[in-house]
Symmetry: C2
Subunit: 347 residues, 2 copies
């Protein structure tokens, strides 16, 4: 994979790391200690593993780029990362996944009972962070941030329900737009749209025009999710930290899969429909390997990779326009260049 | 089972039914319709099955007994019932239960992926109801209700974590106080304490003394949970609607179990520890039946039933005192007599 702007990427990576560390330190400090055992100390598990802190960085950078005070947005950035970790735990419960960020998932290590409790407690901590905003942002702005969090949760749950429904009903005639709609709800909303909205709300202290980065977030989130799908298919475990081809084991309808189903031969399609109609437990490793090889050899991975690149360009153009009226700062540059980092990352 | 006051019970049942119907109608009306399939229509599933609506009734009756406007508390009563249903779904995911209110559980019928989504969406609907309180109660009171909801969620999650931890670690030396502490967190808080607090907050419009019914709620919740445990052990399926002896299959540490472990012979104790150390899947039906028979024949069920009766009396005395300064109304009478209904119900 070539990097268009190694210099730009390293600037992206350095601000990303800075905001991640700032958020993570606060996040870990805010987790209660003590009894009962098997609850609070396990909330630390996922956040303590290596991560990018992307969502927090988007929130803080948007706030800073608009001239806001990063310190005032930190609480909300922590809440966003906590909500993200709660989603990951629930995802692992739903999918029966074994690995997350290079180590055992909570349900795999502690069982469903513990994992669901820890997921719910992580989400509750996120909400409590947003309640504490009352003292930092005042009641009206704190309420607005809370309200947008619920909207984010709604969108994410609807996106999850769409994806789970496709698997359950063995949907085999999906088109690109179906994927993009699902992806906007399942990924873009909580990964990009909501963090940007919150950053803007806190910087500007008003609800007017706080949605003007939604298109940016939408493209950025799609580019991010597609790259995530590609890494799941082709990545190295040592970098990616999740089961390789886990999406195929689970029957997830990625853009690559949709592209392949549309362009493959009738025989291949029949074989794919049969494969996708099975449950996870019924799938054989040889089948998963066959599908993976076909997705790559058919050229669909390359086609979709080019699609992600175009989405990154769209996101970049949106950022240039949406932030045209604010001074050139490293936060603004981060937001403009982030899309390319998204599609070039290998973890 | 004898009923001390059939007349009182029927008054309790009639107000319970009235408030349940009021809340349920509003609850079902407020569930979104439409896409995506497999999400919103499934939120209706558990609330549409036969239930007592106990938590909503406690909230509305407390509000009314204190001279408040029931219409203003209805939103919060709906939220309380929604949160309860979300807990039930998550419980069924955690326990792998097959039956709830006489029909298949969501995870048994639709799988973990769908069930977790529906549980989360049910909880989100509860939170959105509380956000809508802003227009009914004003921002300050709406905030206070929301805040107490988060406290309720915290207590409930901690209670769940205690119970799950006992099972995971095969705790065999528990004493009554351990059970009561767990029970207060896991059951009393969201079933009784929180509903009474919210009713008081809304009736009085202030946070002062809104916790003065906590002791009532604590005793009432314990009486309720113990009766639930007894019904699980000795009830008829046609009335109870859950797998009979499901608690034993899951290894739950009920008060009956704790009483038996303390009073049984060393041989029986050894057999019990071995039984409890197994996982659900490892337990044989003959073992479950043996434990169930021993709990009943040993007299422990009767001892615990008498304990529940005493808790109901304590709760009644607390209600008499806590509501001594308000006029005699049917809501006040309901709150005072409810404890006896709790321990005499057969479903």
């Amino acid at each position: 994979m070539t990097r268009n702007s190694p210099k730009g990427d390293s600037a992206v990576e350095s601000l990303l790391a800075e905001y991640r560390d700032l958020t993570l330190t606060r996040l870990l400090t805010g987790i209660p200690t003590g009894t009962p055992p098997g609850l609070y100390e396990l909330i630390r598990s996922y956040p303590s593993r290596s991560s990018k802190g992307l969502r927090a960085a988007l929130c803080l950078a948007t706030c800073a780029a608009l001239g806001g005070d990063v310190a005032k947005a930190l609480n909300s950035a922590v809440a966003i990362e906590l909500a993200h970790n709660a989603f990951l735990i629930m995802d692992d419960v739903q999918d029966g996944s074994e690995l997350r960020r290079g180590a055992a998932t909570l349900p795999a290590e502690y069982g469903l009972g513990v994992a669901v409790n820890v997921g719910n407690a992580t989400n509750l901590l996120a909400l409590q962070q947003l309640m504490a905003n009352r003292w930092i942002l005042g009641p009206s702005l704190a309420w607005a941030v809370l309200q947008d969090s619920f909207e984010m949760m709604r969108q994410t749950l609807e996106g999850q329900a769409i994806e789970v429904g496709w698997i359950r009903n063995n949907a085999c005639d999906l088109v690109d737009d179906d994927y993009y709609r699902m992806c906007m709800k399942k990924s873009s909303w909580y990964t990009c749209i909501h963090p940007c909205r919150v950053g803007a709300l806190i910087a500007e202290g008003q609800r007017e025009a706080f949605t003007r980065f939604d298109r940016y977030g939408c493209y950025l989130g799609a580019a991010f999710q597609i790259q995530d799908d590609l890494l799941n298919l082709t990545g190295r475990f040592s970098r990616y930290g999740k089961e390789i081809a886990g999406d195929l084991w689970e029957g997830k309808r990625t853009l690559v899969l949709i592209e392949y189903m549309r362009s493959c031969s009738p025989d291949e399609r029949q074989r794919m429909e049969f494969f996708l109609g099975k449950t996870r437990g019924e799938r054989a490793e040889s089948d998963v390997r066959w599908v993976r090889d076909r997705l790559i050899e058919s050229g669909c991975v390359d086609i979709v990779r080019a699609r992600a690149q175009r989405l990154a360009e769209e996101a970049c153009a949106e950022a240039v326009q949406a932030f045209s009226d604010v001074p050139e700062t490293r936060d603004k540059r981060f937001l403009i260049e982030l899309p390319f980092y998204m599609v070039e990352r290998d973890s």
